[in-house]
């Protein structure tokens, strides 16, 4: 009897092992951007997605936080040499390194977020940040009492100008006469992790009358939201849902669903449906969105929600075209 149940248990173990083998266990890995894994924003979103995959499938993933640019290529190559696949490279700054490493390991799968790398074994995931930024711009302008709103960007690159440009269009759509202050934190990658500077920039905008400030600045944005909350104004978060950082003082967050991107990349590889190529995720694909939860529901009036819902439907249907800064390097309206 006892032997029988033991044999049954053994058979069960063997069966599940077989099932796991049939699923082709993968060895996924993530190389973060220099903002660091827990930046409460962009990188943390990727981590959340990868972690969700781990919890659902039980497949562990490796990750690495580069401290400088030189480490990015080393990390990618080390993961590749160990046979990790798919490897997610987070952020535009990894494109050159990935271009090299992916060409050296044609049998492995690579995914890059926020940049396009055209190789047969690379999946590129980019977002229509301008669409999400348009919606938060619309909400921000409606929430503003002074008709003045601010934007603090991280490093001055076309990608961040795309955020800014979408935001400006959203603000102008709600209040054509609104004034918009725009600042970039710096011209080097250090601009992603300088909350003191971010806070000062936000303060300077508040001093000029802004009462809603949107940031697209990674770790620097923590300082922006802090300064805005200290001054009793409203901030707008980015990438991950940052509403909970200062409940009641963050109007909403522009969600960039990097978590879904990371999760679905791993999941597709796990199920054997992973495909290279470029996917562009916008409002229609649920790649970008704005956050509404218990922390900010008192700040969003029914009219604001209705306006945002209408704008979203119009963007998806094509009735509103949000200009993409990166298509012509200009922000004209």
């Amino acid at each position: 009897m006892r032997l029988g149940s033991f044999a049954a248990a053994l058979a069960g173990v063997a069966l599940s092992a077989l099932a796991a083998l049939a699923q082709q266990p993968i060895k996924p890995a993530v190389v973060y951007d220099k903002g660091g894994k827990f930046d409460k924003s962009f990188n943390e979103g990727v981590f959340m997605g990868a972690d969700r995959f781990r919890k659902e499938t039980g497949v562990e993933f490796r990750d690495f936080e580069p401290a400088n640019d030189a480490q990015i290529e080393q990390a990618l190559r080390r993961f590749a040499r160990d046979g990790h696949s798919p490897i997610i490279a987070v952020g535009f700054s990894q494109a050159t390194a990935l271009q090299k490493v992916a060409a050296e390991f044609p049998d492995l799968k690579f995914t890059i977020i926020d940049m396009v790398v055209e190789l047969p074994n690379v999946q590129s995931i980019v977002f229509k940040e301008q669409e999400g930024s348009y919606l938060v711009g619309l909400l921000g302008a409606m929430a503003s009492k002074t008709n003045k709103v601010g934007f603090v960007g991280g490093m001055d690159i076309p990608l961040i100008r795309r955020f800014a440009c979408g935001y400006v269009q959203g603000v102008k759509a709600a209040k054509p006469d609104a004034e918009i202050f725009q600042n970039m934190t710096g011209a080097t990658p250090a601009a992603w992790a300088d909350p003191v500077k971010g806070g000062e920039l936000a303060k300077s905008q508040i001093d000029r009358g802004a009462d809603v400030v949107y940031h697209a600045a990674g770790g620097t944005g923590i300082g922006v939201l802090r300064a805005v909350a200290d001054a009793g104004k409203l901030g707008i978060g980015v990438d991950s849902n940052q509403n909970g950082l200062h409940p009641g003082r963050v109007l909403t967050s522009m969600l960039k669903r990097v978590d879904i991107a990371a999760y679905s990349s791993f999941k597709a590889a796990y199920e054997g449906t992973w495909k290279p190529g470029t996917s562009v995720l916008g409002l229609k694909e649920d790649g970008v969105d704005w956050a509404l939860d218990e922390h900010n529901k008192a700040l969003i009036t029914p009219e604001m929600k209705a306006a945002a819902d209408k704008a979203r439907a119009d963007i998806i249907s094509g009735a509103i075209k949000v200009h993409d800064y990166m298509s012509d390097q200009k922000c004209t309206m």
């Binding site: 003191v196 300077s204 802090r226």
Partner: protein, 324 residues
């Protein structure tokens, strides 16, 4: 916004940005006046920022954070003193070692304890030094035109360590310039043999100066992490220790001019932030990069052209060896 308001806001920002510089400059002044060159100001501030952020987070009190920051900075200062005074090591090498140790240790410990890429958790409420409104600030703003506004915006409304920083300048100037202890400190930096001949311990005086240096760096670092920001970030001092050192040299090792230099550097920083994205008449839109390079360019120009002859303490950087 009218001009006066703009000036007041820029000056307010200047004060905030120059506090860490002022603390570090006074710290460097004490050390250098006693003949111990200290390029480890940066590292000491960084360690203080980290220690204060951790202690404030754990206890929920910014004052405990201040104590922890000062203690951590003091410990590093004594290491520097031990290497430079007791063992007569090369003071530059020791200072560089302290900077590297601080840069690495803070990130490693932060990552091990909190797993947030070296950051400490965000500080809330009493774990941060809030802004103090000085008495009559509101009243003067409404009743005294001009000056009242300046008083409210610029003088009032800073955190405790900020006022400590200004106090430290006054104390440094008085003690170094007007007391027996100050005279001895200066003497030990100019001619330690003479001090020794008079029967006063050179090592003890230099240790005292190095300890004061550690204390002041501790205040500066604590201000960065618990008042200006809300938590520690890797490399958050971002070269402020070196700028402070430049301010000391720029001011020819005198306290009040050093305060002026720090405020000037702070002002350049504040202007750089506010000029961004502003269209100047005749020039057009100022590029971000040009504005951000301004403080560094000015530093070089000022240091190269306007300082005249630098007169460092004569025994600066030299370990004292008793004649046998």
């Amino acid at each position: 916004m009218d001009l006066l308001q703009l000036v007041a806001l820029v000056l307010d920002s200047t004060i905030r940005l120059s506090i860490p510089l002022i603390c570090a400059a006074m710290a460097g002044l004490w050390s250098e006046k006693a003949g111990v060159v200290d390029i480890g100001l940066e590292g000491k501030m960084l360690v203080a920022a980290f220690a204060s952020a951790v202690a404030s987070f754990v206890t929920g009190s910014a004052w405990v954070g201040l104590c922890a920051g000062i203690l951590a900075s003091l410990a590093l200062a004594l290491v520097h003193g031990f290497a430079a005074i007791t063992w007569r090591g090369n003071q530059i090498v020791s200072g560089v070692a302290i900077n590297m140790l601080a840069a690495g240790l803070t990130v490693v410990l932060g990552n091990a304890w909190y797993g947030q890429g070296g950051r400490t958790p965000s500080l809330e409420g009493a774990a941060r030094f809030g802004d103090i409104t000085l008495p009559f600030a509101r009243w003067t703003r409404e009743h005294v035109p001009g000056l009242g506004l300046l008083y409210d915006e610029v003088v009032s409304g800073h955190a405790v360590p900020a006022y400590l920083a200004f106090l430290s300048v006054l104390v440094t100037a008085l003690v170094l310039g007007r007391t027996r202890f100050g005279l001895r400190i200066r003497a030990v930096g100019e001619n330690p043999a003479a001090v020794d001949t008079a029967g006063i311990s050179v090592a003890r005086l230099r240790y005292a100066a190095v300890a004061i240096c550690g204390l002041l760096c501790g205040i500066g670092g604590t201000y960065l992490a618990t008042a200006q920001a809300a938590g520690f970030l890797p490399h958050m001092t971002a070269g402020r220790g070196f700028i402070a050192l430049a301010a000391v040299i720029f001011a020819n090792w005198r306290p009040w001019p050093a305060l002026g230099a720090c405020l000037l550097f702070g002002l350049l920083d504040a202007i750089a932030i506010r000029l961004q994205g502003v269209t100047l008449p005749g020039i057009g839109l100022v590029p971000v990069e040009a504005i951000q390079a301004l403080p560094y360019l000015m530093t070089i120009v000022l240091l190269a052209g306007f300082i005249g002859k630098a007169a460092p303490p004569r025994a600066s950087g030299l370990p004292y060896v008793k004649e046998r």
